[in-house]
C-alpha cells in the first residue's frame, strides 16, 4: 500500500513582480516549477547557495506568500487561502534569525503561548501555563525562564524558544528555515540533536533548509539541491552526498570542508566560473549552463527534466 505523503508540492511557482520602469514590471522567478514530497516523520534537506529560492519555497509552503502557480497538498488535501488557518495548526516554521524572530516586548511565556492563544488550545490559564512549561521542557529550557524577555537569552536558547513556539500547536510538519546558520558550531550540534530527538518523540516531518551540507547530510533522509529557483537534483542523503550526478551538486560537494589536511590536499576541488546569473535575466534552457563545464547546445534550448537515475535519485541534466 502506498500511503499519501504528508506534504506534496506540485509545480510550485513563485514570481515576485519587480518594477523596472515606470510602467514596466518584470517578474523575479524566485521559485520556478518545484515539485517534491515529504513523508510523515521524514526530513527532506533543501540546499543551495544564497538567493536560490530555498527560503521562498519554505514560506510559500506555509502560504506566507501567495504562490503564483502550483499547489501544496497536505495529506492529499490542497492547502488554500481558505483552509490555511486550520492548516497552520499542522504546519509550522522555525526561522533563521533567532535575534529578530522573537518579539522583544514579549516574555518567553507569551511568545510560546501565542499559538495557543490564536488557536484557542486551552480552556483556562493554568492549562495554558502547563502546556507552555511542557514545551519549554521539550526544548530544554528551565521553568524560571518563562517570565524573561528574549533579549536575556543567548542565540541557542532563543532558537529553542522559536522551536518551542513552532511545536506549540503540535504540528505534523515544520519548515526549518536555516535554523542553525545563525548559531555558532557548538550550539549548532546541540540544536540539531534536539531536532532529531523531537522528531523521534513527536513524529514531526521537517523541511530542513540550510546551506551547510554536513548538517543537512546528518539530519536528512533525502536531500534536494536547488539552483536559481529550480530543483536540479534530489535523492537519498547518501546518494546526493557521495555520488552526485548534476555538475552543480558535484561542485557543491567538492566545496565541503573536511577537517583532514591530507585528504583536503589530495582531493579535487571543482571551482565554478563566473557568478550566479540574475534571476531577473535567467539563461534560456538549463539555468546552470552558463557556469557548467559540460554545457552543450541542447542545454541552451530546453530545461532538462528531472529523470530517475535509479533508487529515486532524480537529476535534471542533459549531459550527465
Amino acid at each position: 500500500m502506498t500511503s499519501t505523503p504528508l506534504i506534496e508540492v506540485k509545480n510550485l511557482k513563485q514570481y515576485f513582480p519587480i518594477k523596472t520602469g515606470l510602467f514596466k514590471t518584470e517578474y523575479l522567478k524566485a521559485v520556478d516549477d518545484v515539485s517534491f514530497s515529504i513523508d510523515e516523520g521524514e526530513t527532506l534537506g533543501l540546499v543551495g547557495e544564497s538567493g536560490c529560492g530555498k527560503t521562498t519555497v519554505g514560506r510559500t509552503l506555509l502560504r506566507l506568500y501567495e504562490p503564483t502557480a502550483g499547489e501544496v497538498l497536505f495529506h492529499g488535501v490542497p492547502v488554500t487561502k481558505n483552509n490555511i488557518h486550520g492548516m497552520r495548526q499542522k504546519m509550522q516554521m522555525v526561522f533563521q534569525d533567532p535575534y529578530s524572530s522573537l518579539d522583544p516586548r514579549m516574555t518567553v511565556e507569551d511568545i510560546i503561548g501565542e499559538p495557543l492563544d490564536v488557536h484557542h488550545l486551552y480552556s483556562n490559564k493554568s492549562e495554558r501555563r502547563e502546556k507552555i512549561l511542557t514545551l519549554m521542557e521539550y526544548v530544554g529550557l528551565n521553568a524560571e525562564h518563562a517570565t524573561r524577555y528574549a533579549h536575556e537569552f543567548s542565540g541557542g536558547q532563543r532558537q529553542r524558544i522559536g522551536i518551542a513556539r513552532a511545536l506549540a500547536v503540535n504540528p505534523k510538519f515544520i519548515v526549518c528555515d536555516e535554523p542553525v546558520s545563525a548559531l555558532d558550531v557548538s550550539i549548532q550540534a546541540q540544536v540539531i540533536n534536539m531536532f532529531e530527538e523531537l522528531q523521534e518523540k513527536l513524529g514531526v516531518a521537517y523541511l530542513f533548509i540550510a546551506h551547510d551540507l554536513l548538517v543537512v547530510h546528518h539530519i536528512s533522509k533525502r536531500i534536494a539541491v536547488m539552483y536559481l529557483g529550480k530543483i536540479v537534483e534530489t535523492g537519498t542523503a547518501d546518494d546526493v552526498n557521495y555520488t552526485p550526478i548534476h555538475p552543480y551538486t558535484e561542485s557543491l560537494m567538492s566545496a565541503v570542508p573536511i577537517p583532514d589536511p591530507d585528504y583536503t590536499r589530495s582531493r579535487h576541488r571543482i571551482v565554478l566560473q563566473g557568478d550566479v546569473p540574475s534571476p531577473l535575466r535567467m539563461p534560456s534552457g538549463c539555468p546552470f549552463r552558463t557556469r557548467c563545464r559540460y554545457a552543450c547546445a541542447q542545454c541552451a534550448k530546453e530545461m532538462p527534466p528531472l529523470t530517475d537515475r535509479g533508487n529515486g535519485h532524480m537529476v535534471a541534466c542533459w549531459v550527465k
Binding site: S101, L102, D103, L214
Partner: protein
Amino acid sequence: MNLRIRRDENGNPKKSPFSVQMDLSKFNSAMFEKATDEEKSQQDVMSESTTFFKDGMRKLFKNPLAVGSIIVLSLILLIIIFAPLFVPYRYEEILSVNGVRDKGAKNLAPFTYSKLEQQYIEAGGTRFPHIFGTDEQCRDYFIRVIYGTRVSLVVGFFASIIVLIIGMLYGSISGYLGGKVDLVMMRIVDIIYSLPDMLIIILLSVVLQTILQFTPGSFLDSLGTNMISLFIVFGLLYWVGMARLIRGQILSIKQNEYILAAKSIGAPTGRIITRHILPNCLSVIIISTALQIPSAIFTESYLSFVGLGVQAPMPSLGSLANSARGGLQSNSYKLLFPALMICLIVLSFNLLGDGLRDAFDPKLRK
C-alpha cells in the same frame, strides 16, 4: 563522511607537535571529583529580569532635567487641583464684602487689600489674601490664573490624545497594509499637511458659532465654540505628523522576522498590529505625545491671545495674557503670571519629552 585521522601505534589520535591541546591521557577519572549542588548553584547567575519599561524609567530618573520637569509639572498639577479648595473666591466672582460690591478692589497689587476689605479686617473679619492681586473687573487674579492653567492643560492633554488616536489608527493602517493603500493614504496626509491651520481654525470657529448650540451652563458651553473648533482642528489637521511618524515606525518594524513568525502562527492582522507592532513603537508614541502637549498648549494660548480662545468669563492663560496687555504700563506683573505659567508648562513638557526620548529611544540619542 570519511575522516582520515592519523593515529599512533596505540590507536590514539596523533598530536601535532605544535598543538597546545591538553594531553588527556595523563588524567583519569579518579583525579576529579563531582561538583556539589551548592557549587553548581553558585554558577547560576540569575539577575532580576528587567523589562524595557523598567529600564527606560531608570534612565529617565537619572536625567536631572527630566526629574526637574517632572517635579515642576507635579507641583503645578497639585496647585491647580487643590488651590481652588482653599481659595474662597471663584474665577468669575466679582469681589464683595458682606454682600456689598467692593468697587475699590480694582487692579490691586499682590497681597494687598482694598479699603473696604481693610475696614472689614480691622472690624475683626478675616479675608483670604489676593496672592496675585485682582484684575480690572475686581476678580481675584490668583484663582483666575489657576483656572486658566487648568483649561490650558486640559486642552493640551485632550488635543494630544485626539491627535494620538487618529494618528495612530491612520498611520498603523497605512504602514501595515502598505502598497497602493499606503500611497493613497499618504497623499491625503500631504494634502492636509499643506492646509493653513490658522485660517482653518478662524473659519471653523466662525462657522461653528452659528451652527453649534449648547445647553447654557454645560461644560461645552462654558468652553465656547472657539475651543470646540480648536479641538476639531486638532482632530482634523494635527494628526498628520503623528500618522507619518507611526507609519514610518511600522514600516521598519514590519520587516522583522517576528511579524512573519506571528503570521505563520496564524495570528490575525488586528492581533499582529496590537500585540506586536504597536508595543514595539510605543516609545516613539509616548515621546511624540509628550512633545505634542506643549505645542497644543502653545496653540491654545496664542489663539486665546488673539481672541479666538475660550469664551469669557472662563479664563485661559492666553486670554489672561491678552487682557493684561491693556494695563501693561501700570500693572506689568499681570502679564508676568500667565506668561510665566505658559513658559513653565511648555518648557517642562519639552524637557520631559526629551528625557523620555533619551531614555526610551537610544537610537535617537546623539
